[in-house]
Assembly symmetry: C2
Homo-oligomer: 321 residues x 2
C-alpha cells in the first residue's frame, strides 16, 4: 500500500523536478499559465501525444526513458523546421494504479531531455484516466522567414537523410524478444528506440546549406517521403542501395520502420549537399547521405537499376480498414 | 458499419475545419510544426487535458460542446493572466469505436470557440487509445511585465469575482438527472456547464484597474482561493453572504462546485474595484462583486457575523486517499 498524493501535493513534488525559472522564463510552473520573454524570432509550435499500448508498453519502457522520449520526439519536430527549442508544456493522464515514484521518474526523464536540448518545461496538467498518455507541446524560435517546411522541394533537388535508418524498429524488435541485451550493438539498438536523438543542430545546418524542404522521419522513410512530396507537389526517385541502414537493421526497418527521428531534406545541388555534409559531420559526427532526387511526379524506388513504384506505407497510429 | 479513414485522410478532413492561415500564422496545420509571426509581447502558454470519465461523460455531452469547452477552459487560463489569445494546438486520443463524424464535430466545436476568442488552431496530433482525451495547449500574448500571476496579493487587498458562481455544478446536476430541460433557467445552467465562458476582456479590465493577483476558478472558489493565498503568502477572509450565486445554484455549488471559470482577483482599494466594476459592467454586462479581503494569514469565512475556518476543499481531479 502506498500513500496517494493529492493533485496539489503531486504537482508540488513534480515542481521540484521541473526546470523552474530559467533565462527567458518570466513565470514558471504553478500559475494559471507560464510567461516567457518576448521571442526574438517567429514562434514555432508543435504537439505530439504518446499513448500506452499504442506508442509504448509499460512492461518494456522505463518511466525515465518514456519521459525522455516524449520530449525528444517533440523537439525533433522543431529540428525539422530548423527552429531552436524554447519551452514545453506537458499534460499527463495516469491510471489510479500509477505509483507517484513512477511519475516523478517520468518527469526526471523529461527534465533530462529538456536539459539536453536547452528547453524549459514550464507547465501542464494532470488527470486520471484509463491508460498512461503523455502529451507534450514544444515551442521554439526561428529567424523570420527561415523555417523550413515540407512544401519547398523542387524537381532536380537532391534528397538527403541524416544518420542511419532502421535502428529504432530493430531495437523495438529486440525489446519485444525479451532477452537481455548481450552486445554493444543490442544496447545501441535499444537506445535508438527508447532514447531517440532529435537532430536540432543538424536541422540548422541543413537550413544554412539551403534546404528547400525538410521533415523528421517518424513513420518510416517511404511514408514520410510521400508526405514531403505531397506537400511540395512533386515526386521522388529513391536509390534504395544508397539508403544508409543502421547496423542490425533490415532494409524494411530502414524504409518502413518508424521512430528513427532522422531528418529528411531536399537540397538544391551537389554543392549544398557537400556544405551540409561537412558541417554536420564536423560538428556532430553524424553522416549525411544523398538517397535520391526530387522528380516532377510519382514516387519510385530504384533497386539494382530497376525502377518500381515505392509504396507509401509505414507506421500509421490510426491503422487502416 | 462505417469506413475508417486512415490517419492522413482524417487529418485532411479535420484540416478543412481548422482555422487555416490567419493573420500572424506563417505556417498552419499539416507541417512538422506551425510557425507564428513574432509575438509583440511576452508569450503566455498553458495546457489542460479533458478525459472521458473524469471531466466529461460521452452520454451527456455532444462532440461540439466538448470541443468548444476544451478550448474555452484553456482560454480561461490566458484570461487569468490578462493575456490575449493567439494560437492553440490539440492532441486527441480516440478509441477505435469513435466515429469520424464525431471527431469532425469535435473540431467544429473547437473551431467555434477559436473564432469566438480570436484564437488560431494551428496543429496537433491524433492517436488511438482506450478513452477519449482532448489535450489543448494555448498560447497568448501580454505586454512585457503586465501578466497578472496568483502571487501578488497583499494584506488589505479587496477580493473580487466576476459573474456569478455555482451555475456549472448546478448544470451538471441537472444533466445527471437526465430529464429534459424545461425552463430557460434549466437551459442556462446546462449551458454554463457545457459551454463555459472565458473572461478574456474582463481579465484585461481587472489588470488595467490594478489587480495584484488573479486566477480563474476551475476547482471551486474555496480551493482556488486557498491556492491564490498560498502563491501570494497571505490569507483571506471571505464574506459568505457576498458570494454572488447563480440562479439555481446552492451555496455549496458556489463555494465548492468546479468549472465556473469566473475570475478571482485581488484589487488594492475601493477605487480600483469601482473602476474595474464600471469597465466590466459597461463593456461586457458582467457583474464584479467584492467578496472579502486579503489578510496576513489564515483562510476564514464570515457567516452571519461569525468567522470560521474555510475548508480548502473542492474539485480535485486526482482525488484524495
Amino acid at each position: 500500500m502506498h500513500m496517494r498524493a493529492s493533485e496539489d501535493e503531486l504537482i508540488a513534488a513534480i515542481g521540484k523536478v521541473l526546470s523552474g525559472a530559467g533565462p527567458g522564463v518570466v513565470v514558471g510552473p504553478g500559475d494559471d499559465a507560464a510567461v516567457l520573454a518576448r521571442p526574438s524570432g517567429e514562434l514555432v509550435i508543435s504537439a505530439d501525444v504518446l499513448v500506452e499500448g499504442v506508442h509504448f508498453d509499460l512492461a518494456l519502457t522505463s518511466a525515465r526513458d518514456l519521459g525522455y522520449k516524449a520530449i525528444a520526439v517533440n523537439v525533433s519536430d522543431l529540428a525539422a523546421m530548423a527552429a531552436s527549442p524554447r519551452a514545453a508544456v506537458v499534460t499527463l493522464v495516469l491510471p489510479t494504479s500509477t505509483e507517484d515514484a513512477w511519475v516523478i521518474e517520468l518527469y526526471g526523464g523529461m527534465r533530462e531531455a529538456c536539459d539536453e536540448y536547452a528547453l524549459w518545461l514550464v507547465g501542464g496538467d494532470l488527470s486520471r484516466g484509463p491508460a498512461v498518455s503523455v502529451s507534450v507541446t514544444v515551442t521554439g524560435e526561428v529567424a523570420p522567414g527561415r523555417a523550413i517546411t515540407r512544401a519547398g522541394a523542387r524537381p532536380g533537388d537532391i534528397l538527403v537523410v541524416t544518420g542511419r535508418l532502421g535502428a529504432s524498429a530493430a531495437g523495438l524488435r529486440l525489446a519485444l524478444d525479451g532477452r537481455a541485451p548481450s552486445t554493444a550493438l543490442d544496447r545501441a539498438l535499444l537506445r535508438a528506440h527508447f532514447r531517440p536523438v532529435a537532430r536540432v543542430g543538424e536541422g540548422g545546418a541543413l537550413a544554412a546549406a539551403g534546404a528547400t524542404a525538410m521533415m523528421d522521419i517518424s513513420d518510416g522513410l517511404a511514408l514520410d517521403l510521400s508526405r514531403l512530396c505531397a506537400a511540395s507537389g512533386v515526386g521522388a526517385r529513391l536509390t534504395v542501395s544508397d539508403v544508409p541502414l543502421a547496423d542490425g537493421a533490415t532494409l524494411d526497418d530502414g524504409l518502413r520502420g518508424g521512430e528513427d527521428y532522422e531528418l529528411l531534406a531536399s537540397l538544391p545541388d551537389l554543392g549544398s549537399v557537400h556544405a551540409a555534409r561537412a558541417a554536420i559531420a564536423d560538428t556532430f559526427g553524424v553522416p549525411l547521405t544523398a538517397i535520391g532526387e526530387i522528380t516532377p511526379d510519382g514516387l519510385t524506388a530504384v533497386t539494382d537499376g530497376r525502377e518500381a513504384t515505392l509504396e507509401a506505407k509505414g507506421w500509421d497510429h490510426f491503422g487502416g480498414a
